[in-house]
Structures are given as structure tokens and as C-alpha cells.
Subunit: 347 residues, 4 copies
């Protein structure tokens, strides 16, 4: 990797928080039952349930794609399809795992600022259902919060989608790999954002908010628990030494570390967004509501930006770049971004 | 079924041609090896190869969806996806069979008069490939000829798509459930329309053009023959008493019955299209280039049309109706359609 | 195919009965709705339900492997496996369709004269369940009646298996591609043999007993009907011109043709078995209880038998041959078999 | 978990070695590219290749079941099956993942002291191939080294199997979750045990020999690399913060930690085996050649043993127990086992 001074490529690039490393070290004591029957896993499930004020089933897994596949395997019967946006991670960046492993069709609606609109969902339902047995039976709506472009569904928007699902006989799944950033921004609680909607299934992140590597599937709808344990194993998401994943969630929730880290990332994203807004040559693509920033720049700037800042182009045709702030994005990082854009503006 | 005087719902509703019934009767002689090792199957494969001037492998199967699934199972490796239009039969009206059985993602491009444009295909390739291993690897382009809205790719358009496939390392599959209607309309040959493009795989119809029930998969690309026999069985497309399917293709190709029947259907479709064009309140949705006709009508007319004519609405919001002429659509049928529209116009 | 005088290779080699051909011809009248919405399909479903004294759902399909796959797709959830014998058709001769399309593991028990014993089933259940989520959850017992070696489960044996299934929380599926031969032999009824056991799912034959080509899936357990229509299409078992399949079942059941044809085949099998029993050099491998005969012969006889009689070796190491009598196996066929064995005995 | 003094349940219960924890801590420095593009992953792949004296492709993954599924997805075409023993982990304890995700049938041969014999493999090949397209096409032989009962294939036995695979056109896969224990016992090298045989694919462990949690798939056969990157993602085996998995392998191979830890575990297993051999009431089920010990005991002893020692029954009907020694099994553990058995013997 070339040495750059500023890293805004992804919150997946960030290291684990020291308290997380400490928790892992402490879990490295003597023998413990494998495959999730250890005390750390029990404890982690408990703190997650408490945070969500829920009696949901919790499955701790190594990858977010795994959580999504597991969710769809539990939710979809063999003739059922899933509605999601065209830029949904499960549709666009999970290498066809849903189709390959679950065997379900993903029906896409065009995103509007990252979100699926009720109108588009209803339109898709209507056209897919028009052919009866000759097409699929939509069974799940999967949404991402925050969306893939960093925007947020408001609680009201979520309730409307949840009600639509109930009316249309769909299960509701949320891909929440950065859910923490949404919770702090909307000043709401895990419970309000999920089970209270109601929500059936949540892919909950962690890795992008300071964990070393742990995600979870939360099953709120009791009718979907039927075979969760079996499918976690069959879907390659059951680790033998599970304690090292589980231990990470303990301080994360017990000490509200998730909140501190998400707030830091969001705050730095807002500061960078302000710099972008103040730079006439740059233009934010979407409102910055979490820790992701999408903006367009003059094409001549792109290589200069990428020389100083480790980041990814999002849409090369539009000269669009994505910045992601992490829990450890520093004041100095922000200042350097500001200096760079000031300098480029003047040139 | 309510008794109506005119049937324009589907060429799948039409009976089998008497020569086809005769061929089936003649095949009902004594014992014959099962699973396609009989003399009729050998003969049918031979007449198909002769018609196509090809040494291709021929697999005779009971359903067109089966031919498509078999094609994709042979063509797609596990990480590969298929590009097709949003209204492709395999995407829209095959109940998710491709995703469920093959496990591949279908990447859709918006149809333009039923067709996939090279620009849209290239755009889709670019966006899908932008994420490398995180998205799928497009491996196949599947087109339908005639398209789902009855239009035709010209030979030049097909050659451009074939060249695009070669350049972009895609295999080319054609869903030709009504290929005969395209062949007679374009006054070309099977060979020019398929292997000469070149084409890798063809799902060839028959049932919609006067057979009792038989479809076929033609494998032009020798590298795709590897396991065709095994997969025909595994994909539930190998009949025990295959002779009764195979026998249908013998007079169909030996006596050029396919041509006569397709010409009749196309001719009647053109006559009906002329009536529609001459009716001011009606509007053809697409040029009528085969045996399918799509048109919009005043909403008040829809129930009156459907009372007299067995047909399907295509897009209820647009008041769009689909007529399909069959090999047995009669002069009287056309006259009655004319009378109905004249009457409705005057009312 | 070499011309031989006697055909005992398979009941799949036999032609369709003239009454079946007549029924197909009569169905070839005018237009009829596609995909099973025609009057013949409705009629066929009705005569099947009457024959079985059941309100079961009936799906008419082109292949027996298709009926089996459809059954397992309805019955198995994603973590569930199927218990069957090591020589079950679905395990041994369906090209891995169950694993490939349904994705379920088949757990095999060693057959005893073709049958699965309760003891072996319980033993397999115990060993598979011992590892909990690390192994599969057995969900279905699939048996074949008559078995793959022509023997029969008695009604008492079937009731014991059905009770075992209820106790062990398994669904019971019967592969009955030659069920008619069992019904006439056991002098019982369709109802007693199936729904009365009770049975959850039946793959019902037809093609091997004089039809041109039609099989069916009967769903007795109402909880399994959820998506039968969708899955019939998705599993490539829904024909467009369904009337030609359905029409075959009408005289078959209305005129008890199934019984006449199965009795003829069984009778001829018994006559041939008697000849074998009277030939000292030959030895029946299993009791002959339907239309299948398995026997061992001196190795020198094998080529001589196969020169005169079209038949298949079953186990080449054991010099075992399989004969199958069909509805049209003639008195002359039997006499010729007798002459051949007499001749070989004397040589 | 009840507090017991001795842990012989599984090497998956053991903690990570301090040097591994240290390596993980050192990897927690600043930002690093995600999804395996980091320096630690590059380094880990390099040390593994050096240890194996190979240019193989290395994919580091979170679970052994994942490595096996990935191997089969790369090796099996859609009509191909896998031969393994009846107690193979992939057949017996991976929750049907191979059938569900890869869709391939596992053809089992009865194990002989844990191993697949050439005779049984050839017999299975013959019977499966006898039915051509109606059965599957065996494509892979998968063996486990050490076996599931702790025994070892000798290098000569492995070479015979590799030659058989070449002759019979099978790919050879080795499930080596405890390969280190075999290497030290046979006093051979990684290279001799794998690529030199030759071997096509290796699922390489680590978690069971002192890592916190990391496994790998090694692809020796270049023709199988086609889509490894894509399938690692699609099969849910690509972690975002991969550096924490990869870092574990660096000291493991650079400092020969794997050897030290495997030798310790094997040594302690031998000592415990000696105690068992010296106890007249106990009987080893298999020669103890790695770190696993299977033995039968008087039924009255079983609860007494399990009260003191955390271990699993293997075959309850036979009163068979499994002990697994780990890298941290101590001299004190061994002495306590000795005391317990002495005490029980005298009682």
C-alpha cells in the first residue's frame, strides 16, 4: 500500500479499538467450549439483547454478507424473491451470494438518495405479481440503514415501510452494517429503530465501528428461528473459537463504546462535509447523515486528491469520490483535507 | 374456459398440426429404447442439424424454461452472471428458475422495443465489473429472438452483439421459442441466424409453432458440450419415452412445416395489425414483425374486446393488450376482429 | 437398435396403449388455455382424486424425477435431509438432481430386498441427530413402492413406517412410478396404499404403465401445498400445452385401464418367473411381486440371453440380469423366453 | 460450563498461543486495505507458500467448513460428485453444506480405521459410473489427514490414492484441519505430504493448533484458480479486516510454532494413550497417531470419566469416548488422567 497521510477509504480499513483488543486478550484464558457454547458468547448475546430491549435470537457471525445470506435463507421460501434497491449491498457487492446460496431472485427498485420508496416497491410488487406462478412471489423487503450512499431513513419512513410490509405480506430485513451511525444521528434507540417498527431480521455490524471483526444476525420474528442454529453452520458462519468474536461485543455494548465511536466518525464526516460545501468546485452528491461522504470534483482534481488521500472513486464517469470517516479519523486528518482543498481551489 | 369465438391469447393455446399428430401416431410402434436412444430421436437430431447446417449437439426437452436453465447451467460458472433485458422471459416469467436452479444472478438492461442495446450492455458490464470480486463476473448475454414484444433483431444487430460478446468474453445465448417467425420474416436461414453469427447456445421452440409439445437446446460451441447429457437428466429434461417428443420434429423440418406454419401466423398478425392501424382509437405499441401484436385501446374498449376475443392484458395501467396469432388463426378470425373494431369505432 | 424378438428391457420401452393415443387425439381440438388451465387438466385431476378418494392437490408433470424433486422441494426445509435406501431411484439414478436442485442431503440405509427397515431408519436417525446443528435434520422418509428390485412393502409394513414417521417428525414420501403394479398385486386400493397410511406426498407414475408420457405429484398433506404451483413452474415441470399430458390420465382412470395394463404386466412377469424357477441354472434374486424380475445366470449364458432378449444387466459381477414385463408383453414373448431357457439348459 | 480440571474435549477449546495474540496486536496498527489487500495477508501467503515449497494460491478463510465448500465449488462441475468416507467431516459434521451450497452429491465409502481404501473407491466408481448420465460423474476424491479417528495415511498410501485419482480422472482434495499433527508424526514435510503427491486442493487448518481462528485453502492445481477470488467472497469466506486472520499465520510458520505446538499435542496424546493401554478395562479403538484418542470403557466408568474430564462420547452404544490433546495439554493433565484411571481400576 502506498504511504498516504490521510485514510478515508473505508471504515473497514480502521484498526480495532484498544478496548476491543483488551477484551479479546481477556477471553484468551484456558479452555472454553467451541461453536458458541462458551460464556463469552452467552454474555455477548445478553448485552446485545439488553441494548435492543428484545428477546431476539442473536447469531454472531464473521461476515456481513454471511449475516445477509443467513437472513434470506431463514426468511425466503423457495419460490420467494427479495425486493431491494439497485445499489443494495446484497445486490451489488456481495458477489451474487444471495442467488448462489439462497437461490432467490433479487428484485430491484431504483434508489432515491439511497432509499427504496414505497411507491417503487408497490409498483414492483404489482408487476411481479401480475404473472402469478410464472414469476416469483416477493417475500422479503430488504433495506439498508444507513443506505449505501450514507443517507438515513427517518423513523417515520421506516414505520411506513414496515406497515407496507405487513399489508403486503412481506418480511422486513434491515442491513445495518453501520446501524450505529444511524442511531446516534437520529438520536433514537436500537429498539425504536428495529423491533418497535416492527422489523423481522437485522444484520448488525460491528467491524466497521471499531471491532476487530464480528457481525451478528438478530432474529426478532419468532417464526423465523426454526433452524437458525443449523443454518448458521450450513451457511459457514459458525466459528469454532467463537469466544473471540463474541468477546468484542461485550465492552462495545456494556460501555457504550459503539456510541462513542459512531459519534466520532459522524462528527468527522460532518466536518469534512462542511469543508466540501465551502469549496465551490466541489459538490456533495447526497446529504451527509452518517459517516459516508459522496461528492463530485473537477476531473483534474481526482488524481491529486487520490495522491494525498486514500479513497475510492465511486462513479468515475461523474468524477464522484467516496470518503468514509472512521472512529479514528483525527482532527489532523480533517485539517489536512481542508488544506488540500484550499490549495486545489487556489491553483 | 368461457366460449369465445376468437382466440388470440397465445400460440400455446393452439392445437398441434395434424401432420404432427400423424408423426406421433407413427412413432407408437412396438418397443423402443428409452431416454433418447431410439431411432426417432436420432432422426430428429439429424433433421435439426441439417436445417441448421451444423454439427451442433441437440437436446430435445419438454419445456422452454428447461432449455434455458440447461443452457445457463452449461454456460455459467459459479461466479458468473447473465445479462438480459428486464422483460426477458428468463428474468420475468420463469418463476426464478435461473436463480433457483443455476444459482446465477441475472443482470438486466432496460429493453428498447424489446431489444438489448450494445450501449446498455457495455454500461452494465462496466458497472458490474467495477467492483471486481465483490460483484459477479458477467459470463453470458442472453437475447430473445423474436423479442418478448414481438420485434426482431436484424442480422446486423445480431452480428454486432455477437462481436461484442467475443470482445467482452461473454457467451451468447438465444432464447428462440418463436425463432421460426423471425426466420420467415427476415427471409434468412437458421444457419445465418445462429451459428454463423456465431452463437453459442440456442433454446429452440416448437410448441408455439404447431408441435404438440417439444423444445430443444442446440449447443453450437463445442466447449459447452462437456456434460450436456448428464445435465439434461439432472435438470429434469430427459424423458423416458423420448420418441414421442422427437417424432414431432421430423415432419416439422423434413417437410418445412415450420415455415408454412410460421408464415401463416405472421401473415395473420400483419392483417390484424393493419386493422389496428386503421382504427384511430387504437395504437400499436411496437412494430409488428412476427406473430405478436401489442396495442393500446380506450379503457372502455378493453372489457368489450376481452368479451369477444380470448386475449391477455399486457399492461393494465396503459390499457395495453397483447394479441398472438397462431398457425391456425383463420381468415374468419381476422374478419371478426375487423368487424369488432369497426363496430367499437362507430359506437 | 439391433432387432431382437423379445423386449424385456423396460416398461419405458413399451408403446402407449391405443386408448391413450385416442385420448390425445381427441384433446387436439381447437384452442385451450395453456399451463394447466384447460378442461382436460381439470378433468384429469378430478379422476385422479376420485381414484384416490382424496381431495389432494394433483400436479401433472412430464418426468418422474421432476415429481420427486418437486416433492422434496415442498417437503424439505433448507437444513433438512431425506432418508432413503441406497438403491432408491432418487439416490442412485436421478443424476444428483435432489442435491443439485433441492440442495438436500440424502441419507441412505442399506436396502433389504429393496426395502428400508424401521430398525435401519431409526439407527440412521440416531447417528445423524447425535451431532445436532453440525449434521442435518432428517425431515423426510422416501420409500419406493414397488421397490427398485420389484418387491412390495405390505400395507402393514407401510403403516409401521408411517407411524414411525409421525413419531419421529418425518414427512413420508412414496415414489410410485409403478404403483399400479403394487395395487393390483396387493389387491388393495389407491386410498389404502396412500392417504390412509397416512402418506404426505406421492410421485405417481403412468408412463411405465401404458401412457405416452405423464407423471403426477399428489400432495395429501395440506400444509405442503403452499407453493406447489410456483414450484411446478420453477422446477421446470409445468408444460404449456398441458392438455396432452392430462388427457392421457382420463381413460386411464375412468376406464380402469391402469388396472388392466398392470395386471397384464404382472401376469407375464409371474409366468416368466415360473420359467426361471423351473430352470436349474437360473436363480431369482428377489421374490417377483410386480413386473420386475431379477435373476442370476451362468456367465456363459449372459451374452446368449442378451442376443435374443433386449434386457439390461443389473449387477455384472454377480451375472445378474433384470427383466421387466410391460402391459404389451405377449404370450408369444413368454413362450420364446421359455424356449430359449430350455434350449440353453440342454446345451 | 461446569468447572472441570481436565479439558480433553477438543483442540478447538484451547486458547490461542501467546505468540499468536502478540501477532494480532501488532497487526492492529493504523489503517490497512480491507478484503485481503493488506501487507499481513501478503506476508502470510508468502510464508505459507515457503513452508509448502509451492507457488500455490492461498486463500485465508474463517472456517474449515468454508475451506471445504470453497474447494468443492472450485473442483466440481455441476454434474460431478465427491467420494469420501462415511465419517468424513464434510459428509457427517458440516450440516449438509456441500449439498446445500455446492449442490454436489457425496458418495461415501466405509472407512477402514478412518481411511478410504483404493478397493472401496474403485468399487464405488464402478457402481456409480454403471448408470452413465442417470447417475453422477465422480469428480473429486476428498480425504482427511489425519482422519476423523486420528489415524494417518502413510505417504505411500497417499501416493497410491493420488495415482488412482490421476488414472480415474478425479481431483484429489485433502481436508487437513489437523495436518500439522500428521506432519510431525510422519516426520515429513508439507511439500511431501501435499503438492508432491500430487494433491490438487488442501483445506489447511490452524485454529486447532493454537491459532485464535484462521484456516486456509491452498490451490496447487493451477487449473482450479479460475475464480478463487470471486468464490471466496460468494462463499462468505472473505473477511473485510483480513489482516487479523493473516497475521496469525506469520509467526506460526516463520518461527515453526506450528511444529512445536503439534509435537506437544501429539506427545501428550501418546502419554495418555499409554495410560489407557496400561488400564485393562480400557481399550483403544484405533492406533493413536496424532492428537486424537478413541477408546472404549466400562459403561459404569463413563459418567465418572465425564465428571472429571471435559470430553465427548463418540459412540454411546459402544461406550466409546474421544479425547483430544491440545497444544496446551499439560503434564499435570496427563498425571490427573493417570490418577483417575488408576483409581477407577481399583474401585
Amino acid at each position: 500500500m502506498p504511504q498516504k497521510t490521510i485514510y478515508l477509504a473505508s471504515d473497514n480499513f480502521a484498526p480495532a479499538h484498544p478496548q476491543i483488543m483488551q477484551a479479546i486478550s481477556e477471553a484468551n484464558q484456558g479452555h472454553a467450549p467451541a461453536y458458541g457454547l462458551d460464556a463469552w458468547t452467552e454474555h455477548a448475546e445478553q448485552v446485545i439483547r439488553e441494548a435492543f430491549k428484545s428477546t431476539c435470537e442473536v447469531l454472531i457471525v464473521p461476515t456481513g454478507t454471511g449475516a445477509n445470506v443467513l437472513a434470506l435463507n431463514l426468511a425466503c421460501r423457495r419460490h420467494e424473491s427479495v425486493i431491494c434497491t439497485d445499489i443494495a449491498h446484497m445486490n451489488y457487492q456481495e458477489s451474487g451470494a444471495a442467488e448462489s446460496i439462497v437461490g432467490c431472485k433479487l428484485l430491484t427498485v431504483p434508489h432515491k438518495e439511497g432509499k427504496a420508496s414505497p411507491e417503487d416497491i408497490l409498483k414492483k410488487l404489482k408487476s411481479e405479481r401480475a404473472f402469478g406462478r410464472h414469476s416469483t412471489s416477493p417475500g422479503v423487503l430488504s433495506i439498508t440503514q444507513p443506505t449505501e450512499v450514507g443517507t438515513l431513513y427517518t423513523l417515520d419512513e421506516l414505520k411506513i415501510l414496515s406497515a407496507l410490509c405487513k399489508k403486503e405480506n412481506l418480511l422486513l430485513h434491515m442491513d445495518g452494517s453501520r446501524l450505529y451511525n444511524a442511531i446516534v444521528q437520529l438520536k433514537t434507540s436500537f429498539h425504536e429503530m428495529t423491533e418497535a417498527l416492527p422489523l423481522d431480521l437485522l444484520s448488525l455490524g460491528g467491524t466497521k465501528n471499531g471491532l476487530m471483526g464480528a457481525e451478528a444476525l438478530l432474529i426478532f420474528n419468532p417464526s423465523l428461528r426454526w433452524a437458525a442454529g443449523h443454518l448458521q453452520k450450513q451457511n459457514l458462519q459458525l466459528l469454532s473459537k467463537m469466544r473471540y468474536l463474541s468477546a468484542q461485543y461485550i465492552p462495545f455494548f456494556e460501555k457504550d463504546l459503539w456510541r462513542t465511536l459512531a459519534q466520532q466518525a459522524n462528527q468527522k464526516a460532518r466536518e469534512i462535509a462542511s469543508i466540501i460545501e465551502a469549496t465551490p468546485q466541489l459538490s456533495l452528491s447526497y446529504p451527509v447523515q452518517s459517516n459516508q461522504i459522496f461528492f463530485t470534483a473537477p476531473s483534474a482534481w481526482i488524481p491529486l486528491i487520490r495522491e494525498k488521500i486514500f479513497c475510492y472513486p465511486w462513479n468515475e464517469e461523474k468524477n464522484e469520490i467516496r470518503f468514509i470517516a472512521s472512529w479514528d479519523t483525527s482532527e489532523k486528518d480533517v485539517l489536512q483535507v481542508g488544506s488540500l482543498f484550499t490549495e486545489l481551489s487556489k491553483a
